[in-house]
Symmetry: D2
Subunit: 359 residues, 4 copies
């Protein structure tokens, strides 16, 4: 795994910039014989697509994916699957001021410090547009582990959290916030609208659950399931935190309160234990326990805001910058399908790794 490639056995490599002609992913190590066409991938891209509501960036991209290799007669062949998405709505002129001033919180200064110069159009490689390639790859990962269901939602925006008691899975796809609590969704509508209108932005917490992961997947020590999930999620733009199960809350508990007791499972469950709690988020010692895998991811607010912020330019001279381009008032919202994709990609990889070693 290196640089722009993720995974050990089921691997994907992404490429492309915000304002280049296209972006894409190469998925390598996919098992053969899996039915696959663009129709299996497009719905996930549509879920992530910009411009679908007023709460996301107004850049209009069809994000139509093409499969360029690795599929024959409608099935994967076991050879690399090349996925390409053309960029359509790049307006390079919007970003001309970014060339002259580093946007604080963005990768502008850091890229220049590393590489000596940068593609400043829309953030170049550091743009969240790259996540479209991940979502496309993630759609294939889902097909590799069809027994698993990966489901994410927004748990909080700008510090306003859902009420767990009001959690309703059916609501998640019924509002533009992927929000399982109808009351919170309605509050967020005002909150995000306000941020959008004032040129401000908001952070968010995304929760994700993967069910159907069999006990035994995962691999100690440096390929631990939690470690891989953390790397995967932390590689997403704007993510600054990740916790598995109770995470930081567990650090405040006693051993008794944090225990996940076990009982013999019902015969029809195949002999696995019944767990009485899931503080550990379905992973013990880096290996899945068979419980749902649960995690939460913190997205910082978009750094692009209308309020001028002190900064410097590549020439080292002081200036200020106010970002007027099209962007998401809350990037966390569109992070939902991206977190799902990354979790699916880790699980597909871990499934194959487990099969390699343990048959």
């Amino acid at each position: 795994m290196s640089f722009n490639t993720f995974g050990r056995v089921f691997r994907f490599t992404t490429w492309g910039e915000s304002h280049g002609p296209a972006l894409g992913a190469v998925v390598d190590g996919c098992p053969p014989g899996i039915a696959l066409s663009e129709a299996d991938i497009q719905p996930w891209l549509d879920k992530r697509r910009p411009g679908t509501s007023r709460f996301t960036t107004q850049r209009r991209e069809p994000d139509a994916v093409r499969i360029l290799s690795g599929v024959f007669d409608g099935r994967t062949t076991g050879t690399p699957i090349s996925l390409m998405i053309e960029n359509v709505d790049q307006r390079s002129k919007d970003y001309s001021d970014v060339a002259k001033a580093y946007r604080p919180g963005h990768a502008d200064y850091a890229y220049d410090a590393k590489y000596g110069f940068r593609d400043f159009r829309g953030g170049g490689r550091s743009s969240a547009r790259e996540t479209a390639a991940r979502v496309a790859a993630g759609a294939i990962a889902r097909l590799v582990v069809p027994q698993v269901r990966v489901r994410a939602w927004v748990e909080a925006i700008g510090g306003d959290a859902i009420d767990p008691a009001r959690f309703d899975d059916a609501q998640i796809d019924q509002n533009p916030f992927f929000c399982p609590d109808i009351a919170a969704a309605s509050r967020w509508e005002r909150l995000v609208d306000e941020a959008r209108k004032s040129g401000s932005s908001l952070g968010a917490v995304i929760a994700c659950e993967a069910t159907g992961v069999p006990a035994g997947w995962g691999a100690p020590l440096y390929a631990k399931m939690d470690s891989e999930l953390a790397a995967a999620c932390m590689s997403i733009n704007a993510v600054k935190g990740i916790e598995i199960g109770d995470g930081f809350a567990a650090a405040a508990l006693s051993g008794e309160a944090n225990a996940d007791p076990m009982r013999p499972g019902a015969p029809e469950t195949g002999g696995g234990p019944e767990f009485l709690a899931n503080h550990a988020g379905g992973i013990a010692g880096g290996i899945a326990t068979g419980q749902p895998i649960t995690l939460r991811v913190a997205f910082k607010p978009t750094s692009s805001i209308l309020t001028p912020v002190e900064t410097i330019g590549p020439d080292g001279v002081a200036t200020t910058i106010a970002t007027k381009g099209r962007h998401d008032p809350c990037v966390g919202i569109r992070g939902v399908p991206v977190v799902e994709a990354m979790v699916a990609l880790v699980l597909a990889d871990q499934a194959l790794l487990h099969r390699a070693q343990c048959g």
Copy 2:
């Protein structure tokens, strides 16, 4: 990077079980010509060593490290450095009941589910004893990036946090809790003593700061500095959460409140910008900004407690287990040198990676 190896260019591989004859690490890719002897490693192992206060496990291990290869005439040769630490104080009989019942929260059930059987003596490979090998490897990593200072401390135990206003770096090594707040240290003494006496356990939050990391280290997209740090820390036993900079708190902020404005730096700082805040924890777009890198890690409470917990055995039959063996009432405490080691190991790897690509 796979399984029991971590890193891309500066890599280490660990081996060994809690109750085997020894444990160790092989460090590969270390630059040549670095002065190195056991005396450079031992102090860090001593910092992590069990049995140094009543607040840690009473297992008595000298944890004396031997360098078996890769050093000649007192300097690293560029070839693999093999480190070995003998296990001395294994009392296998203490763990006989573990063979018959899975300890909830431990890796017992998951290892059996994965591998079909397990070395149940002291947790085998899943024991926190393995972290001694990391600390030894981390001591070498520090020498690879001597311009960097990595420093960790305990920020909270059992939900009782330090007062940031009372932070005193000089205190950290003056108490058995690596606590920078003398008042908190004194509260924790009672707290941990109580947990120890009642056979309970407590979670903890560890904070870590790395200063001296030059702008430019780190590598988008799947070798992002935050992603590597997350993977590294999440691979430590009992860790369930990691955040960079403000982490989860940033998710509740607006873009304005989360901004890290920049000004032209003082000439004597070499031309880098002066940052007016560090919400991002010193990393933007996965690349170091030159600010201190800051992160926080959540350790769950040790799952070994005296209170009997419902569980099952390898035979699937219901039972209960109460863990009487020697263990830490708060594993987070001894996690301090381990977090430091993992952060140093990531930074050494990123330093070499950066040099590879950007000269």
Copy 3:
């Protein structure tokens, strides 16, 4: 390095099938700031292009390369460079009989045995068309190590070798055989013509030399320069042998005859030694000595011949197959730019690896 990716720090991933819409490569880890446009790549592709003489396959492909990412303002940005070449002249119907019978010597049976089915159009992923992607990536590798000159030629066709005494570098690009011996080139014209007309095929030996490689590149033990070159060349279609320096001939020598004595080098050469011989092919202990790196690669004859050969089909039933499609009577010829590309790719990777560890 795994499956369809090659390299450790300077890495490339290829994708695409003979009869898919396109093929390509993603080059990752390229240093930033290198001037790069399609014009730097196209000449090497033209050198490999089919249909340029009657001695190669008559498939007509422009092999026009597009750079889809990783370049801004004419320079590499340090992010992944995506290269795409569209397939234009696929005649799928030519290959319909291949679906029903395994071509001996081709990957047909092995792919079916591995994957359960295969893309039989033109050999699918196992087609030598994939090497176009390598040549494109190799053109970038050359720019990463501009101090190095990589040069290959055909040394023998069908067992008829050049006369080393007649070696003339200037001849290599003057004939369709990349032959440095004008007399051999004229003999090969008849030889290959005969094979082509009779529907037969011929093997070839390619020699390659890399000059300008500084002493010190290479990395013991499992990234030895010879080991990487062997892996790289052996991954090329139809290659069945590789030797470094004197190779198999050295196995028949005594230690005295095989010695590469050294003398102090002339001051103007920068203090490196002068070597009096180069049996070792410029590599000792896996590390470059500063001498030219020399190697030879054996290409088997194309397995596609007009003479019917006994075989079976996917149904297990006996049949015979005679291959009438368009193909090279001697694949080794077009192997010349491919060997050059693979050697350049290894050297670029080793250059960056060396810089990582040894500064």
Copy 4:
């Protein structure tokens, strides 16, 4: 796979120098539940052990292996297996002159050029003693693929080859040359004796055959079975050439002469085809065909000879060196168990890789 680690899923890392306290290997990714003790490894080390006849180095090493981790109750646990072999008979004074003059053909100069200095005692890390660690790891690899039989022998010494018509498998272990032709063995006795007495050395060709490899193992394109075998064998000390199947001889053949026709296999063979020839060495398109895998490896003569050779020292001053230390007159002989080990290690890795992707 990097530096001192080999393999993708079944991986091993070696460490240690000729004159350090010990050397070893860490085997990672081994499937759990395999019966393993030192007794499974020691016979292979004994086969490679120095000092067993007058035709090998007179260094006396028991090469007793210890398993330090990864085995419990006599079975592999799935966690890393640490193997250690102590060095007993290091006579460092023998090598003092090597500090002052580079031995041509050895890694001395190249290591200094790379690392700035070197462990000159017995060649340090570049010594063939490192291969003991490979042989130990290879013994475990054999247990991972018990259906496979890997068998190597010496095919030629100093250019004097066996007569294929006299090949007798039973002879291989009956003479100190691993020679399957009793007449050649007797000639080699004189040949090697003469080289030994005169302080000269001889090259050798080793042949190796792996039977029982099922069709389907191997993975295009850069993990091709031939590519992995080439990398593995070329990483062995003194190896300068590798060919699969007919190798370089195939380059002189026509397509007709090189064909491997197929017929329907006998029902009792499980439906696989019967092959009428094996020019390809059991690999097509990088994937095993089910035929025996055959390869040949060229070992150069030991560079350590009594005849003084011109050279320079680290100070750049001209001198000569004659190597008087203990060494093999023909390193190829003891290369037999090493080639076997490397082939077994590749096959174990490929077996697990195949299982990962193709179930």
